[in-house]
Amino acid sequence: MTSASSNRGAISIRNVTKIYDPEGVNVMAVDDCSLEIGAGEVCMIVGPSGCGKTTLLNAIAGFHSITEGEIYLDGEMLCGPDRPLANQGADRMVVFQHGALFPWKTLAENVAYGPIVQGAMSKAEAIDKAGTMLSEAGIGDMAKKYPGEVSSGMARRAEIVRALINDPRVLLLDEPYRAMDALTKSIMHESLLEVYDRTKVTIFFITHDLEEAIFLGDRVVVMTTRPAKTKKIVDVDIPRPRDYTTLSSNRFRELVQEAKDAVHEEAVKAFEAGERELA
C-alpha cells in the first residue's frame, strides 16, 4: 500500500496569516506567508524559536485555525476564509516533538490503531500488518513492548511507522529528533531517508538543526523571526540516495553555510526582540 507515488501530497500555502489573541493582545504569529510544496518533496522549515513554524504545521494538521489565507492539499482546500480550521484526517500524519505513542498500548497496538479505528482493517489484520511494518523498520522484536520500555530512538521510529501504515499523503514532523544525541540522530536520519526513498511521501519537517535540514531536504525554507514569512529558500541539489558520506562533501558544507547565514541574521533579530519584550 505504501507505493512510491510522488503524484500526491502537494501543499499550497497561500497568503496565510495567523493572529493569536491571548490576554486581549494581538500577536501575529504568521504574516502573509506563501509556500508551494511539491508532491513527494521533502521540505525543511527552519527559523528562530517561536517564529511561527509550528503554527503553520498546526494549521495544516487541523489543530489550529488560520486568520487569513488558504491552504490546499492536492488542489482541495484544507482551510480558508469559509473554514478557518482544517478537518483532522489520516491523510496528514503528525509526528510530535515529544513523541505521542500511546504509553498504554504496545508498539504493535499503537501502529495498528489507525487502521482499526478507521475501519480499514480488522484487529487481527492490523496487528499482523503492524508487526510486518515494524520488522521492516528494524524493530520487529519490540512489537510487544510498551513505549516506556524502548529507547527514544525506537519509539520515534515506531511513531513514524504508525503514521506510514495509514498511507498518508503528507508527513508532518515537528522537530522529532530534537532531544536525541548526535549518534542516535544520524541513525534516525538514515532511517527516515530510507523510508522516504521507499514511499516518496511528502515531508514537512520543522527543525532548528541546519545540517539535518540540508541532509534530509530537497528544499530548506528559512523563515523570518515572528511574524513568520519565508525569508530564503535553499535548493538542495545533492542527489539521492544520500547517506552519511554526504555529510563530508563540499557541496553539503556550502549549503549549510548558505542556510546558516540566512538563519543567523534572523536569530539575532529574534534574540533582540526577545530582550525588548522583557525590558
Binding site: 494538521a61 505521542a100 498500548k105 516506556g148 529507547s151 530512538g153 521510529r157
Partner: protein, 292 residues
C-alpha cells in the same frame, strides 16, 4: 541505549511463580524486610514498656500488648471475643460487606462520572459546582440526613461510606482525565478516531493511574466513614464493636477491634493496588526499568 544493532532478546524475563520467588529472593538480600521487622518490634516494645512494663500515667489504664495478644489468641477468651469466636467474624464480615457494597457503588458511579466530567466541557460545567459544594461537607454532618432519608440501620451506614468514597473517586478521575497530554488527543484525532474511540482508547487508559490513586484513597475514606457511621448509628460491625466495648468497659476488645480495622484496611488497599498493577502493565514495566 542505541538502536543500531538488532536487539534479539533470547532470555525472557521470568513470569508467574518464578518471578514471585525471584522477587522474594531479591527482597531478602536488601535490608528492607529486616528493618521492617525490627521496626514493628520496636513499636510493640515501646507500647509494652509504656503500658505494662513501666505503667506510666495515662498509659496504665490501657490494655497492653501482652494482654491483647493473649486474649486475641485465646480459644476460651476472658472477655468473650477472640480469633476463635464466631462473633468476632460476624463483626468483621458485616463491616467488610458494607465496605464492599459502598466501594462498588462509589466506583461504579464515581469513575464514569469523573470520566464524563473530564471529557465533556458541558457536562463538567453542569456538575462541577455542585460536586465542589457537597464535597467539603464532613461526612458526619450527613448522618442526620442519612437517617432521615433511609429506614433501618444498614442503609444509612452504607450510604455514608458510599458518599465519602464517591467524592474522592470522582475528583481523582476528573483530574486523571485533565492530566492526559494534549498530544495524545491530537495523535488520536490524526489517526482517524471517532469520539467514542478517543473515550475508550485515550480518556479511559490515560486516566487510569489517577483513578487507582483515587481508589486507594477512596477505600481508606470509605473505612473511615463506615466506622464513624457504625459508631453513631450501627448494629454490628467493627466501629460498633469499638463503641460497645468502651461502654461495657471491655477495653481489650476495643483494641482488638482497632487492630482488626488496621489489618483489613491495609488488606483492602493492597487489593486495590494489585488490581491497578494488573490493569496497568505498561506503567508497571516502565517504572520497573527506572528501578522503581
Amino acid at each position: 541505549m542505541t538502536d543500531t544493532t538488532s536487539t534479539t532478546q533470547t532470555k525472557k524475563p521470568p513470569t508467574g511463580l518464578t518471578r514471585t520467588i525471584y522477587d522474594w529472593g531479591t527482597s531478602l538480600k536488601s535490608p528492607t524486610p529486616y528493618l521492617m521487622t525490627f521496626g514493628i518490634f520496636l513499636w510493640i516494645g515501646a507500647y509494652y514498656l509504656f503500658v505494662e512494663g513501666w505503667e506510666l500515667p495515662r498509659f496504665n489504664k490501657l490494655p497492653g500488648p501482652v494482654e491483647v495478644i493473649t486474649e486475641f489468641l485465646n480459644p476460651d477468651p476472658d472477655w468473650g471475643m477472640s480469633l476463635f469466636t464466631a462473633e468476632f467474624y460476624d463483626h468483621v464480615f458485616v463491616s467488610c460487606r458494607r465496605i464492599l457494597i459502598a466501594f462498588a457503588i462509589a466506583t461504579g458511579v464515581g469513575v464514569p462520572l469523573g470520566l464524563f466530567m473530564g471529557w465533556s466541557k458541558t457536562f463538567r460545567d453542569y456538575s462541577f459546582p455542585i460536586l465542589e459544594t457537597l464535597r467539603p461537607i464532613p461526612i458526619l454532618a450527613w448522618v442526620p440526613l442519612a437517617i432521615l432519608m433511609f429506614s433501618g440501620l444498614e442503609t444509612p451506614v452504607i450510604y455514608l461510606a458510599t458518599l465519602a468514597s464517591l467524592f474522592v473517586t470522582t475528583l481523582n478521575t476528573l483530574l486523571g482525565v485533565d492530566s492526559i497530554d494534549e498530544e495524545y488527543f491530537r495523535a488520536a484525532n490524526c489517526l482517524g478516531s471517532k469520539p467514542h474511540h478517543v473515550f475508550m482508547h485515550i480518556v479511559v487508559p490515560g486516566a487510569l493511574p489517577f483513578i487507582f490513586t483515587g481508589l486507594q484513597i477512596s477505600i481508606g475514606v470509605a473505612w473511615f466513614s463506615l466506622v464513624a457511621a457504625e459508631m453513631v448509628s450501627g448494629e454490628f460491625g467493627l466501629g460498633y464493636l469499638i463503641v460497645d466495648a468502651y461502654m461495657n468497659i471491655t477495653y481489650v476488645i476495643m483494641v482488638i477491634a482497632m487492630l482488626t480495622l488496621g489489618f483489613v484496611g491495609w488488606l483492602s488497599s493492597a487489593l486495590v493496588r494489585i488490581a491497578g498493577n494488573r490493569l496497568m502493565q505498561w506503567r508497571v514495566r516502565a517504572l520497573a526499568l527506572e528501578g522503581r
